[in-house]
Symmetry: C2
Subunit: 140 residues, 2 copies
Amino acid sequence: MTNESPWELLLGNAGVLQAALTDAEPALADAGLTDVKAFFLLTSVEQHPGPADLARALMLPRPTVTFLVKRAEAAGHLKRLPVPGDLRRFQLKLTPRGRRAMNAGRDAVDQAFASYLGRLSSAEAATFRKLIRKLAGAGE
Amino acid sequence: MTNESPWELLLGNAGVLQAALTDAEPALADAGLTDVKAFFLLTSVEQHPGPADLARALMLPRPTVTFLVKRAEAAGHLKRLPVPGDLRRFQLKLTPRGRRAMNAGRDAVDQAFASYLGRLSSAEAATFRKLIRKLAGAGE
DNA sequence: GTTAAATAGTTTAATATTAAATAATACAAA
DNA sequence: TTTGTATTATTTAATATTAAACTATTTAAC
């Protein structure tokens, strides 16, 4: 019974995610997404319109989000709308093209990660889901 | 029963790891480690001496490893030794100072991640360990 | 042995990321 | 009001990352 310490567990877990995302990258490129970050940006825009929101949700510095948003806008994936009551802010909205890219990206990441999840029985996979939800919850 | 798709699961999982590593960062800095990557570099050196090895193990491009190794060397955490049979390669070895930094870093990351793992019962945590091992294994 | 292919590590040049500083607006308190 | 503080988003400048090209050495094929 190998009793891994937390840092080893973390490293192993990060490795799996990294591997899956690396596998997904070609298909993401085909979908017109430069990057995994570009994909996650699109998936988060509806729940978190506005760069500051996004920065918090994705745990990225705000200037990085400015940069990513600019690129997504240039790619025609997002457009900026003014926010009525507040001149500082604006609201990001997926374009139809952006939505298509997001859907294709979703398929790419789903497929890549599913191939790792496939190493688990479906009961184990359900347990994994539950545990991740528990780990992620409560903190927020 | 929320049936999360793989990409959502992946995003949630990545969020937990990211949050833990962010929490660990101040203590890593106190340990003289600039970075999480600097820490993982040290932890991997014994199993994977040599930049090319490390690059594969850590899933990083080789030039990035060159950069990280240079910095670790400048910090006095590593030294380079020649490899007898092969003039192209060299072997990286932890200095005593590097080992101390690694140990302190281990404590930092262990403590940070343990605080998230603490949201699970000890039976659940054991299951999580098992599942990660299964996800990470077989691929290599 | 000589040539071709593979591997290790680095350098260079381009790109991405981020800390720090800035500008503009909102909000709260006196 | 006006003063101070907080928030949003950006710019700038510094740093980190990486793809592409390169050098040196080893290994395999012939």
